[in-house]
Each structure stands twice: as structure tokens, then as C-alpha cells.
Amino acid sequence: MPERLPPDAQISARWADALLIARLLAVGGSSLGGVRLQSGAGPVRDRWLEVVQQLAGRCVPWIRIPASVAPSRLKGGIDIAASLRAGMRVEETGLLGRADRGFAVLAMAERTERGVAAIFAQELDISRENGSGGFCLIALDEAEKGDVPMSSALVDRLDIALNLNGIAMRETCMADDEAVTRPAIAPEAVEFPDDLLSALGEAILTIPGTSMRKYQAVARLARMVAAIDDRSLVTPPDCAAAIRLCLGAFASGEAVSDDEQEELDHEEQQPPNVENGESDPGEQQSADDPGEPDQDQDIVRDGEVPEEMMIAAAAASRAVSALLARADTGRATNLARTGKSGAMRSGSRRGRPTGLVNRPPYAEARPDVVATLRAAIPWQRLRNPEASGNWQAGTALRVLPTDFRYMRFRHRTESTAIFAVDASGSTAISRLSEAKGAIELLLGDCYVRRDNVALVAFRGFAAETLLEPTRSLVRAKRSLTGLPGGGATPLAGGIMRSIELANMVRRRGQSPLIVYLTDGRGNIALDGSPNRERAAEEASSLARQCGAMGFRSIFIDIAQRPRDTARALASAMNADYWPLPHVNAAVISSIVSRTMRGG
């Protein structure tokens, strides 16, 4: 605990929290599921891991798992080499089995494939359901802003979130005692006052995007915090600490300062709704639920709850929701895609396996070991008659080149339609809503073929990505409600952002299609200055770049009277040019859909 630290060390409150978490993990282990450790690789993270090991005791299993682990290694399976030697089926314990009653450290958790993440999630559920045994997962999340975030299925199941980014090495210290012993009071025996539990529930309900699992996690943590402090009753500060640890706020319990709060309130104001009645009320509420709506009212209304309890809980939740609103952590849990490799790979070397072939599908293909052995095994009696029925260590399996089997992959190219929409004053707001309509129609159609849609809007002085590539109609609708319009036309910025997005899509192995909806008349240059000439120059040079990079694009000219500038831009980017003064969602969607299918 913080108060037992050596006085000369200047320990920040955040490191004190980190130490508290280490202690909780050492005591609670598998019952907590684990921790999402957001931190770059570095000495601070290493030190924290060392503290956990020290507190948990050195004899506790500590298994480090790489993100690229094969699912079969996680859960264990038949060990072919040993089976051959032993002459009977030998199963090897999976990595998770070896981490039983200890820790599994998952390196680069954000790069874990979703299949592997699902196995972790499942095993965490099982170990929690069983009550005893199981493992504690320390997921090292190194995702930075803009990266694909860690699998949300996994994040949801880890009770603790710890962020070590920004802690300096000199702020840290080792724990001052060796392995912790089990607290005198078992966490299960700690009393949780009922009114406090409901106050806690109320506080958590005000934090948007938290699932029921997190509420349970906070309750569990609060009890454990009390237990390691040798108290048999949960107090409001315990709850505040639990909220902080569970939801990853690093401000230690204190509320956000006033001006920060103001800034937040300001941010929370919704952008002007372009179109009313676009979303149904329920959806809207959950999407735009501001951080802490009627915190004060709650306290007043709930007379029986001791006021200080409410305040402590509310302060913590306020701090958390402030953080969630500002940092991208909140978004990260909503974004569902998990680590896909960013490397460029081509052709049939990736994708889903479609079957085995006995000829290499491409030059440097490697044989599939298990399949090759499977193919070889039935022949062993013939090839090695003296050994049959008498397998022992050292007996070699006779594998001939004819046994080689290769996995063949079929790579289904997914397309991603990137809409770059001119949302400036020069194009009417109704067009924007038609673009939205087109996106929704397209998604409705796309999800049959599993295509994605993204949206870049440019207005005022910059372009922004309003919708990351997604296949989900629900998410698209949520992002598109309240799409703001009006202002100047930063066309060059819009083209640039679309190219960036298209590059990202291409790196993921999908083929991008950019759909521009604009009149082609930009008046803001890339640096944000209102310079019509430079803007036009930049736009055409970016258009050429877009064409040179070989992105397929469609240019829908939405000007009342189409001019040559737009046509010239379209031809520079090798785009299909469609003058369409009366924009209509159905027409756009059919144009795009046809292009996507054609390619």
C-alpha cells in the first residue's frame, strides 16, 4: 500500500495504484480474470511485471505467450513426436493449462487474432465458472492511437485496466515486501453493504459503454481491496478505488478540475443534427449518453444512501467518464476489430484454408506438418514392416515426398467503399443526407457480400474520418447521426485523408474503392489557409497521386452546373465521372454497388 513505501522515493499516485493492482493480482489471481496493461514496452512495464512476480511468489507459474500463438498450443493437443515415440496417444498440456493457478502473460495482446482472443475469453469464462484454479491473464496492450485496438471480447473479461504510459522510471519503486500471504479475511467473507452496492451500480450506470461484467468486476474488486486492507466491510473509498482500477482511470479518485469539466461539457454538446428523426430514440440515447447527466439529482433523490458514499462513488465515476470521453479508450472498446496483420501479403498465401493439395500451391509453400503426417501414417506398415506394432523411441516415421500435403488458401478480396463527402456550405445539407442514405443502403446490400464502408467528410478547415471501415449497419447509423455540415471546402484535405484510409485498407489486404461526392471546387489549402488557387493546385496534384497509386475511384459531381474542373480532377485520378446534380441515395448506391461487384 502506498503509505508503506520508503519516504525518499517520489512515488506518483499512479504507481501506487499499480502497486495496489499487483497486490490484488497476487491475492486474487484467477478470480479477477486479469489485467489489461496498456503500456509501451519499457523498463517501467518490466518493473511492474517483476513486482507482480515478486508479490505472487516466484514459484507461481508464469507463462509468457506470444501474440502469434497457434490455437492448438494454447489448449494443448496431441503431441505427434511424443506419440510416435511412446506408441500411444500423448497429449501435451496447453500453455494455458501450464499457467494454471498462475499467470499467463500475453505479449502484444492487440495483435492477437480474434480466434485466439476468443479462446482466451472462453478459458477465462471457464476458469471463473469453476471457481478454483484457472489462470490470471496479463494482456500487454501496446496499441497506440490509431492502431487497431485489442479484442473487445477480451477487454470486457479482464477486471482490471492499468495504464503505465507516462510514468517515469524514477517515479517507480519495487514493492517493499516479498510474496504476499493470503489476507486474514477472505475476500468472500467481506461484507458489502447493500445500499453501497446500489450506489455503486448507479454510479457505474452513468459511465457510458460499460457492460454488466464491469459492474460485477468493480464489486469484486471493492471487496478484495477491503480484504487486503484487513477490513471486513466495504467502504466508499474501496468502491472509488475499485472503479478507478477497473475502468483504468489514473487520476486517483479526485474529480476532474473545473475547467477541464467545462471543456468536457462543451465537447459533449452534440453537433447540430443534420437530419432529425434519423435514429430511433433508444439508440441515440446510448450513443450520445453524456458522461454524468444527473449526478446531483441522483444524490438528492436517493435519500437513504449516505451522502458521502454517493459522492465518493460519483467522484470516481466522474473522473472515469471524463477520461473515457477524452482518451480513445472508450472508443477502443467499441471498435471491435482485432489485430490484423499490417504487412503486405498477396495472393493465395493468406485467407481461409480451403483444403489440402499434394502439390505446392505457390513456389515457397511449406508443407502442412500434421496433414503430411496424417497422409504418411497409413503407409507405415508397408514402408517399415519390422517396426509395426513395435513403435518405440527412435523409430522414425517414413515420410516420402508423395506424402507432402499443402494447405491451400482462398483469399476472398473484401472491398471497402470509402465515401469522401463534401459537407461544406457549397453543397447543400440535403446532399449529405443522401450520401448517408447511400451508405446505409449500400451497407444493407454489402453485408450480403461482406464488404465494408467508411466515410470521410470534409468541411470547414479539415477532413475527418467519421466512420472507420465497418461492415456494421448499426455502427454506421450511430456514427452518421448528427453529421455536421456547412463551412468552407478543404477538398485537398479530403482527398488526402481518403488516400490515407485507402492505403490502410489496402494494407489489410482489402481492395479500396473511393467515392467522391463533391463539386470539385475547393477553397481551403492543406495547411488550412483560405487560398483558392493553392487549394486547386493541391487538389489536382493529390488527384494525380490517387490515380498513380491505382486506387479505383468514382467521382460523383454534385454541382448544379457541372464544370470542367471537376471532370479534370476525375480524369486525373482515373475515376469514373458521374455528373449528378440531383443526388439521390438509391442512384449513388447502385453506381457504387455495380463498381464493387464488377471489380
Binding site: R114, S211, M212, S472, A585
Partner: protein, 363 residues
């Protein structure tokens, strides 16, 4: 291979499969989520209804409910050592244990629940060549997969919308036909695999293809409870369960018994349940009004209504039953209209309301 590595390997016999032995959270203690519980009870009464698709927020007790329900159901009878969960009455042709000359003793095992991980391979799912047999005797034997293990029980897939398409196709095909056909590696096997498929997922992470949606019998939308009392109650009960399992299970034992008896009684009654003419007409009109293609919707609607009636100990399906199950059975079969903002459930309810008003008006 290094010695330390070898020592880590466990040599296990096949029969010693690691099963979770602990008793899961009681079904009756699950707070709220009435629609999901209702749907699960219905498929427990009539497994031929097809699977249940549960779509919605994370952490709403989807997998807890499935596990709890399976635990509630009576144990199934099979032969000791059988890996196909063969019924003692009718055994699978390919089961070496049950077809042995000396029939093994019959035993009771709990209703199986198989949790399907996303990363599962086709081999693991359908079964593949048995390596051990192939190694030892050069014999081509079949090693049953997860589908065999789920026979007569539940197959639960979390995040079914993220599962590889070819696996979903395969699963739905087996679920519909009740038979797993394996044609690979020179093996030609077919064995019964009748299970209740429960798929769950979060629609924000991608949706299922409409062709697949249609194959699920029932569909449920779940949301995290929004009122504070319910939320607190959820955590309170879970907390109680985690702190003292024995006492908690004891407390809910009577309620669990009641539900079990209700399911068993309904199963018995199901064969005798008739459908009133008015209800039949209502179902047909409803499907036409909602523009649902094919007969599958209507059939499921009828079966679901029958299951509900049986659960309520009635031998006649009335209009009220159809109204009750219409959202469950139809909402995922509507043609998607992205520009219609009202959710599918609302559309079904609206159509039902209109129908009722009409009938009242005519009468």
C-alpha cells in the same frame, strides 16, 4: 525432444476428458432477460425448433443462461465410453463402443454443452482421422469431433457473426439435418448430431448473412438492463453465488426443480398440442403481411407457439400464443430495409397489432 518437455506432457486416456464438474449458476436465478430465457425453454421443449440466435450487448449472461439450462435438463442415458453420446435405444452405426458384441453398461451423463471457440478448425468440428489408431495399427479410424460431443445437447457459439463462413454453413447444415457427414481422408462416416444451436454475438461487430439468419429458429435481442434495481440484483446474486456456492444452489434448488418439471411436462404434452384454426390463419396472414418468403417462418411460428402452449400446460394453441412468439420467430426473417429506422422487433409488433385490430374490427 528435451526431457523437461516430455515430462510436462500428460498422458491421458481418452475417457478422461476434462469436463467442468462444478455446478453452474442456476437458471432460475438469472435476473431479467425474460425473452432469452423463454426462447431457451422453448428449444429445450422442442429441439427441432432450430437454433436460437442471441444478439446484443456484452455481459448479459448469454453463455451463463445456456450452461444453466443444460444443467437443469435431466441427464441423458448412454453407454459407458461412448464418444457419440449414443442413445441406448438407437446407436450410431459408426460407434465402435456401442456396437461391440458385449454392450457396455448404460450410464447417465449430464446434458452436454459444447462451447465452440472461434478459432476451431473443420477437423476439430466434424472429426478426422484418428492418429493413435493410425499409428498403432495402421487402421483408418474416425476420431469424432465436437459435433459428436454436442449430440443430444447444446452447441454454443459466442460471436457467431465472426465465425468463418464455411464453418457456419457447415454447422447450420448439420443442425438442420441432424446428421454429420464426413467425407475426407478416405473416411466415409455419418453419425447423428442433433443439438440445439445457440449463437450469440454483438451486431456492432458485423452482421450475419441473411441466408444464415433465416436458418436460426428463434432470435432474441438482449440489452444490458437499464434500471438500477435490476442491475444491482444481477450483481448481488452473482456475488452471492461466488461467495458461497453451496448455499446459493441450495436456495435455488426448489425453483430449479420447478422449471425442470415444467420442461419435462411440456415435452410430454407437446405431441398432443393442437393448433386452433384462428391461430393458423393469423400466422399465415402475419407472414404475408411482413413479406416473409418461404414456409420456414410460418412453420417455426407454429412450432414455437406449440412449445409455448405446452409450457403453459395447454393442449390448444390460441391466437395469444402466436402473438407472443411472433417477435421471437419472425424478427430475423424480415427483409432488411436500411432506411426503415424502426427495429425489426417493432415492425413485427406493429404488424401483429394491426392484425389484431383488423380481426376485432371484422368481428
Amino acid at each position: 525432444m528435451v526431457h523437461s518437455q516430455i515430462s510436462r506432457m500428460l498422458i491421458r486416456k481418452k475417457s478422461e476428458r476434462p469436463f467442468a464438474v462444478t455446478i453452474p449458476f442456476p437458471f432460475s436465478a438469472i435476473v431479467g432477460q425474460t425473452e432469452m430465457k423463454q426462447a431457451l425453454l422453448m428449444v429445450a421443449v422442442d429441439p427441432t425448433l432450430g437454433g436460437v440466435l442471441v444478439f446484443g450487448d456484452r455481459g448479459t449472461g448469454k453463455s451463463t443462461a445456456v450452461r444453466a439450462l443444460a444443467n437443469l435438463l435431466p441427464a441423458i442415458t448412454t453407454h459407458a465410453g461412448c464418444r457419440y453420446n449414443c442413445d441406448t435405444g438407437s446407436v450410431a452405426e459408426c460407434c465402435p463402443v456401442c456396437n461391440a458384441k458385449a454392450r457396455p453398461a448404460s450410464i447417465k451423463v449430464p446434458t452436454p454443452v459444447v462451447d465452440l471457440p472461434l478459432g476451431v478448425t473443420e477437423d476439430r468440428l466434424c472429426g478426422a482421422l484418428d492418429l493413435e489408431k493410425a499409428l498403432l495399427s495402421g487402421e483408418r479410424a474416425f476420431e469424432p469431433g465436437l459435433l459428436a460431443r454436442a449430440h443430444r445437447g447444446f452447441l454454443y457459439i459466442d460471436e457467431v457473426n465472426l465465425l468463418e463462413d464455411h464453418l457456419v454453413d457447415l454447422l447450420l447444415d448439420v443442425a438442420a439435418s441432424g446428421i454429420n457427414v464426413v467425407e475426407r481422408e478416405g473416411l466415409s462416416i455419418r453419425h447423428p448430431a442433433r443439438f440445439v444451436l445457440v449463437g450469440s454475438g454483438n451486431p456492432e461487430e458485423g452482421e450475419l448473412r441473411p441466408q444464415l439468419l433465416d436458418r436460426f429458429g428463434l432470435s432474441v435481442d438482449v440489452r444490458s438492463p437499464q434500471d438500477i434495481e435490476t442491475r444491482v440484483e444481477v450483481v448481488r446474486r452473482r456475488d452471492e453465488y461466488e461467495r458461497n456456492r453451496a448455499a446459493f444452489l441450495q436456495k435455488w434448488a426448489a425453483a430449479e426443480g420447478k422449471i425442470r418439471n415444467r420442461i419435462l411436462a411440456a415435452r410430454k404434452l407437446l405431441g398432443e398440442v393442437e393448433v386452433e384454426d384462428k391461430a393458423l390463419t393469423m400466422a399465415a396472414h402475419l407472414c404475408i403481411r411482413l413479406g416473409i418468403d418461404g414456409m420456414r417462418g410460418e412453420l417455426t411460428l407454429m412450432r414455437a407457439a406449440r412449445a409455448i402452449a405446452a409450457l403453459e400446460k395447454r393442449k390448444l394453441v390460441v391466437v395469444k400464443d402466436i402473438v407472443e412468439v411472433a417477435p421471437l420467430a419472425l424478427r430475423h426473417r424480415l427483409r432488411r430495409d436500411p432506411l426503415d429506422e424502426a427495429g425489426s422487433s417493432a415492425r413485427v409488433t406493429r404488424a401483429v397489432d394491426e392484425m389484431i385490430n383488423q380481426t376485432v374490427g371484422n368481428a
